[in-house]
Every structure is written in structure tokens, then in C-alpha cells.
């Protein structure tokens, strides 16, 4: 497999704070790669460096073979970026916003109109084309933000916390859109602090903690390393987890538990277990 994004000892320091430390990472063409970590872990800083918005302190990133600092112009042509916060002009219509982005990417008038029509159909927002962005729901705004970054057919799409603030239905709809984009050939790099989002979408996950990459693999492989089955017990009001390769091993452990253990749950391990185990911290803890 070709690596589309490669980082080498990527580091970003803000004074004494090390936002990203010695990050070595490869994201392969065609995959959905997820960066998982709590707020402040360095996810957004990494995306900002990859998308030419922030200079790294040391180390480098190449996207599609182009160096993001030395060949920023070439990088900008192959990336699409959806920032965590909405970056649309809310006092303009959906169409005006899309036309603006299309102009910035040098699409000729005919191509511009064709692409806007095509993308609005793709995200089922054709009827909203001439509505002011401010009048749309959160999920619709996010879909507009996503298509506004697709006008120039980027090879990789960066999504920074794409579903923050969306309700469950809008979130699932957005997941479907991300999967569809990916199956249509776009490599996806997303950050999230929602475990279920990373599990639902990502082929591979990197767990970032205090600016360091502490785990990197597919969700299944990460779970396998930890133990696919978790036994969760409540002893003196404290939750304790133990991990086992299979249910048989978990069951025989449960047999050995002393009688003062009241609650016992046997379940599949998840990314949250991995995160807690690797960091001693919950993902939601900032």
C-alpha cells in the first residue's frame, strides 16, 4: 500500500508546551485514518501542520509526496480541509459559499456550476442551495462545510472533530457520508474524541496523548493486543477491568472472584479500554 501522508519526527512546541512530539506516522491511500485523543492531546495542531496552517518546530510531513512547508502550493491542491468550527460565511447563501470556494480553487464558470450542482445532490441539499447558511441546521451546515472542501476533488480530506455538537441522527448521516466519500476514492484523515466514531469509521486508529502517539493499529488489532474480552467488576465502588483473549478465559476468571464482588460484566473490549489502559485517563478528560 502507498503511504499518502508521511510524518517524520514531527514536533510542534509553543514555548515550553510540547503540543506534538516526535510523531512518526503513515496514512495509506484509500484508508479512513482516525486520530483519537482527549481535548488538548495535539490532534488539531497535527491537522493544522498537515494542512499548511501551522509551521512545525521540527520534523516534516509529506502529503502525496509533497513537503507541506517547502511545497505548500502543491499540497493545497490535493487536500480538502473541514475545520472543527464552521468556516462558512453565514450571511451568504449555500451556493455563494460554494461558489467562493470554487473560485479560490480556480474552477472555471461552467465547471463551477456543474460541480456545485453535483455536490449538492451528493449531500441531498439541492433544495437548500439558495438559503442563507445561518438558517440551516447544524448537520446541514456541516454537510455544506464538507462539500465546500470537495469542490477541487481533493485526494485526502481532513476532518477535525466532524461530529462535535451534532445530534445522534445527524452524526450517523455524516458517518454515512464519510464512508461514501471514502468508497468513492478519497483518503480520510479525521480526529475525534468520540470512541464510537473511531470504531465505526476508521480502518486504523492512532491514539494521541499529551502530543505523543501511544498506540497505532486497526481497532481490532488494538483490542487483540489488550484482550478481546473485558471483565468489568465493581469492588468497593471502584471499577476494575481485566482483559482476556477469549470468553472461556474470562469465564474461568469470573469463577475465581471472591463473594464481595457484586457486579460483574463480561463484554467485548473497546477503544476506550485501550485508551484508559494506555494512558490511565478517560478520553473525555481534558
Amino acid at each position: 500500500m502507498d503511504a499518502f501522508i508521511v510524518t517524520e519526527k514531527l514536533t510542534k512546541e509553543y514555548g515550553a508546551i510540547k503540543a506534538v512530539q516526535d510523531l512518526n506516522l503513515k496514512v495509506y491511500t484509500g484508508e479512513i485514518f482516525g486520530f483519537l485523543g482527549p481535548n488538548g492531546a495535539g490532534k488539531t495542531t497535527t491537522i493544522r501542520i498537515m494542512t499548511t496552517l501551522t509551521k512545525p518546530t521540527s520534523g516534516w510531513v509529506k502529503i502525496g509526496g509533497f513537503h507541506v512547508v517547502k511545497e505548500a502550493d502543491k499540497v493545497k491542491k490535493v487536500i480538502g480541509v473541514v475545520q472543527q468550527h464552521l468556516t462558512l460565511d453565514r450571511d451568504l447563501t449555500v451556493r455563494e459559499n460554494l461558489e467562493f470556494r470554487a473560485r479560490l480553487h480556480h474552477l472555471e464558470p461552467t465547471e463551477r456550476r456543474r460541480r456545485i450542482k453535483e455536490l449538492l445532490e451528493y449531500v441531498e441539499l439541492t433544495d437548500c442551495a439558495d438559503r442563507m447558511v445561518d438558517t440551516l441546521s447544524g448537520g446541514m451546515k456541516k454537510r455544506v462545510a464538507i462539500v465546500s472542501s470537495l469542490l477541487h476533488k481533493p485526494k485526502v480530506l481532513f476532518l477535525d472533530e466532524p461530529t462535535v455538537g451534532l445530534d445522534a441522527q445527524a452524526r450517523r448521516r455524516l458517518w454515512d457520508l464519510v464512508r461514501r466519500l471514502n468508497s468513492d476514492g478519497t483518503t480520510i484523515f479525521l480526529t475525534t474524541h468520540y470512541i464510537e466514531e473511531a470504531e465505526a469509521l476508521c480502518n486504523r486508529v492512532g491514539i494521541l496523548h499529551n502530543g505523543k502517539l501511544i498506540a497505532l493499529d486497526s481497532p481490532f488489532e488494538l483490542r487483540k493486543k489488550l484482550g478481546l474480552i473485558t471483565v468489568e467488576t465493581l469492588i468497593d465502588k471502584e471499577t476494575c477491568c481485566k482483559f482476556f483473549a477469549d470468553r472461556a478465559a474470562a469465564n474461568s476468571y469470573v469463577q475465581t472472584l471472591p463473594p464481595n464482588v457484586k457486579t460483574v460484566v463480561i463484554r467485548d473490549s473497546n477503544l476506550e479500554d485501550i485508551f484508559v489502559e494506555f494512558t490511565g485517563q478517560k478520553v473525555g478528560d481534558a
Binding site: 494542512t51 499548511t52 496552517l53 501551522t54 509551521k55 507541506v68 512547508v69 505548500a72 502550493d73 493545497k76 491542491k77 487536500i79 480541509v81 475545520q83 468550527h85 464552521l86 468556516t87 462558512l88 460565511d89 453565514r90 450571511d91 451568504l92 455563494e96 467562493f100 470556494r101 473560485r103 479560490l104 480553487h105 480556480h106
Partner: protein, 249 residues
């Protein structure tokens, strides 16, 4: 070069669309202050007063046109840029796009230029109705165009440098407002002692009001002030590019 100008137009295009949705309220807002000056100082206070051989009204109108171009062009580009940076957060989109810093700076200055020109011409028409004794020549319009562009670039630079709305309003009170009153807009600099005059010649609005007034009143064209204004424009442009270069990759 042509491609860079086309990109600058793309940057300007979105601001123009915004203006199209709200042009009337923006125009009215920008006219309140200069109209008050015109009526209070020019028509009310100075109708009967003679000043350097002209009625004070005739003398003050070019100054008020200069200050309108100054404040509207500055605010036109600075406020939209600040909204893009802090409210819509859409400024990053320009930095992520494959366009040059030149296109961003010029494109962002164009909205200030257009808004400055609209307001200045509106004030000029009111001034003309009140005192039809001054000349509006092609040269006057050229100087007005230059003024608006220079002050719009000034707005771009300041919006790049300042990090919040708060610091922008401080800047407006501490730098912009004193300039509005002091830079030869309402009085002749000849009335000031040497030191005061020298200090005011450091400020760009002084040169704009001097040049506009000289053209409107048919005096000798102040080439030096015109040149200084051009230099200020170049300074604001290159400083904007430099600041943006430092802030981006």
C-alpha cells in the same frame, strides 16, 4: 500577474456578495459621522467664516471627504477581515487555498476601497449641494481613489496584526480618532507651530487631506504629499505581506 489579480478578485468577490446583501445599512452607517461634521462644523459653524481666502465650508469639504475615505476604507477592510478571522473563522480558508499572499492582501483591501469610494462620493455630492464652489476634477477622483486604497491597505495590515475585537476598538480610539481630527481635515496646518506640523506630517491622512484640498481649491498640486501617500500605500502593502508570511507557512 494576471492570475494573481484574478485570485484577488475571487477573494474580493465574497466580500462584494456580502456588501450586496447589506450595502444600504453599511452606507448609511458610514455617512452619519462625516455628515454630522459637515453640518456642524462646515454649515453650522463655518458658513460665515472666511479661511485662507475661501469660505470655511468650501475649505472643510475636501478635508471631510478625506476623512470619510480614511475611516470608511479602513473600517471597510479591517472590520470584514476581523469578522472573517474571529467570527466566521473563514480566513483560514484563504490560507488553505492555492492563492498567493499578494492576492489575499489586495483582495481583502478591495472591499475597503469600494466602500470608501461609495461613502466619499456620497459625501462629495452632499458637499457639492451645500457649496458648489469647489472643483471635482479627474485628478481629484484619482487622489480619492489612491487615498481609499492606501487606507484600506492600512486596515488590512492592522486587522492582521491585532489579535482581538477589543484591541481593534482600542486602536480606533487611540489612533484613528485623533487622526480624524488632527490631520489637517478641519483646519490648516499652517496655523500650527513647526513641531506640531512636523508631527502631523508623519501621518498618512495629513497627506490625503492636503492633496485633496489643493486639487479641490485649484491650488498647486502637492507632489510631495502625493508621493508620501503612495509610499504609505507601498509600506502598508509590504508590511501586510510580511505579517501574513510570518503567521502562515
Amino acid at each position: 500577474m494576471l492570475a494573481a489579480l484574478k485570485d484577488a478578485y475571487s477573494v474580493f468577490w465574497v466580500d462584494l456578495r456580502n456588501l450586496k446583501h447589506r450595502w444600504l445599512s453599511l452606507l448609511v452607517t458610514s455617512l452619519v459621522q462625516p455628515l454630522l461634521y459637515l453640518v456642524a462644523f462646515g454649515y453650522g459653524l463655518g458658513r460665515e467664516v472666511r479661511f485662507e481666502g475661501f469660505s470655511y465650508l468650501t475649505f472643510v469639504i475636501p478635508g471631510i471627504v478625506a476623512l470619510t475615505s480614511f475611516s470608511t476604507s479602513f473600517n471597510g477592510s479591517a472590520s470584514k477581515l476581523q469578522v472573517d478571522k474571529f467570527f466566521y473563522k473563514s480566513f483560514d480558508e484563504l490560507l488553505i487555498s492555492p492563492i498567493s499572499l499578494f492576492s489575499i492582501v489586495v483582495g481583502k483591501a478591495l472591499i475597503g476601497l469600494v466602500r470608501g469610494l461609495l461613502s466619499s462620493v456620497a459625501i462629495l455630492l452632499v458637499g457639492f449641494a451645500l457649496s458648489p464652489t469647489f472643483e471635482v476634477s479627474l485628478l481629484f477622483l484619482l487622489v480619492l481613489f489612491l487615498s481609499c486604497f492606501v487606507f484600506s491597505l492600512f486596515g488590512v495590515l492592522i486587522a492582521f496584526v491585532l489579535k482581538s475585537h477589543q484591541s481593534m476598538s482600542t486602536f480606533n480610539s487611540v489612533v484613528m480618532l485623533p487622526m480624524t481630527f488632527l490631520c489637517g481635515t478641519f483646519f490648516s496646518l499652517n496655523a500650527l507651530p513647526e513641531v506640531g506640523r512636523a508631527m502631523l506630517y508623519v501621518l498618512p491622512l495629513t497627506h490625503s487631506s492636503q492633496t485633496l484640498r489643493a486639487v479641490a481649491l485649484g491650488q498647486d498640486f502637492p507632489w510631495l504629499s502625493f508621493g508620501v501617500l503612495v509610499c504609505f500605500g507601498a509600506l502598508f502593502f509590504f508590511a501586510s505581506i510580511l505579517v501574513l508570511k510570518k503567521q502562515s507557512v
